[in-house]
């Protein structure tokens, strides 16, 4: 599959992002292990979505370097995006489009898009793709974005708040789909989420973003619980200093 089967799938060194006078990320280092499901957690405004936007090539950092699948997203964005699936925190879809129109539109950008895969993920997620996107619930939109992210069989999935504002049934459907995609193929997942119970199910690694950088990484059961009887992940997060950064 990949040309770089060894080493981390994402490697970020000394990353710095500023918006005007506001420093969002500063000296951030992160390696994401191949085949892991890594949860990126941190308080609101810690810069989690900003980091994802750098990784997909939507934002060029002022300092440091990022490598995704061995490529530089700032200069090779289209090649990165061809090999990853990205579920952003919201999708902008023209109001007339039905779910299937949106999938047909997105599918044209991917050489590896498969109609059979598209159908399969629609079925796994129990999405009604005939509904107009404008009339879809938040859960249905997230499912649609996930179908669009999986139908080209990406090597890596980037999920930005896939559980936010969804009921437990939809959250479990999304977890099932992501785990099913891991069952069939080697795939790496990087996930931003505030939903700690969902993170504790889905992830095996956790990276905590605080103070404009990655404060800690580790196995989720170790970091999340400080070895039995310790504080849980939620408490760890609450104990982090609030940051003045913006999203």
């Amino acid at each position: 599959m990949s040309r770089n089967d060894e080493g981390p799938v994402v490697s970020v060194k000394g990353l710095g992002v500023r918006f005007g006078r506001q420093t969002v990320l500063d000296g951030l280092d992160l390696d994401v292990r191949r085949g892991s499901v890594t949860a990126l957690v941190g308080r609101n405004g810690a810069g989690k979505s900003t980091l994802l936007r750098v990784l997909v090539g939507a934002l060029v950092p002022q300092a440091g370097s990022a490598r995704v699948l061995g490529l530089d997203p700032a200069r090779e964005g289209p090649r990165v995006r061809a090999r990853i699936g990205y579920v952003p925190d919201h999708i902008d879809v023209p109001s007339w489009m039905r779910g299937r129109d949106w999938l047909a539109f997105v599918g044209r950008f991917y050489a590896t898009w498969s109609a059979a895969e598209e159908r399969r993920w629609i079925d796994v997620l129990e999405l009604d793709e005939r509904t107009k996107v404008a009339e879809m619930s938040k859960g249905a939109r997230t499912k649609l974005a996930l179908v669009a992210a999986l139908a080209h069989a990406p090597e890596m999935l980037l999920l930005d708040e896939p559980f936010s504002g969804l009921d437990v049934g939809v959250r479990h459907a999304i977890t099932t789909a992501v785990l099913t995609s891991l069952r069939d193929e080697a795939r790496t997942v990087l996930l931003v989420s505030h939903s700690i119970p969902d993170v504790e199910r889905l992830a095996d690694r956790v990276a905590i973003l605080a103070g404009s950088r990655i404060e800690r990484t580790g196995d989720i059961e170790v970091v999340g619980r400080a070895e039995r009887g310790g504080v849980d992940l939620e408490m760890t997060l609450l104990a982090l200093p609030a940051t003045g950064g913006s999203r």
Partner: protein, 137 residues
Amino acid sequence: MDARLHIEIDPRADLPPSEQLAQQVRFAVASAELRPGDRLPSVRVLAVEALVNPNTVGKAWRDLEREGVLESRPGDGVFVARGALKVCVAARDAVLRERVERLVSDAHSAGLSRGDVQTWVDAAWTRRSGWKRAGGL
């Protein structure tokens, strides 16, 4: 035969997900729901069913192998080990006894009598049996 295993993980529970999984397997073996020689579902299949990361299942399997509950036969799968029943009955009884100890200790510090606790235990036991007769758990 291939084991049918119903696992449910509660990420909010005190035990980490891998330990919840291991404990449910131990209890299933102790109650003979799983028998020595039964083959367990693959890690990735069970991960989807239990809604947990495959490495979490892998960790539970490794712990259970170390305890002698499971054995992996390379190329064939993971099976309930021959001596598993004894290990699991002991593990289950230890868990349940500890819960009883804690209950008695809490009741004692709260100033309740032995009779109070026994009444509650009897009532709970009767309700449970009632459910069973009605087709519940």
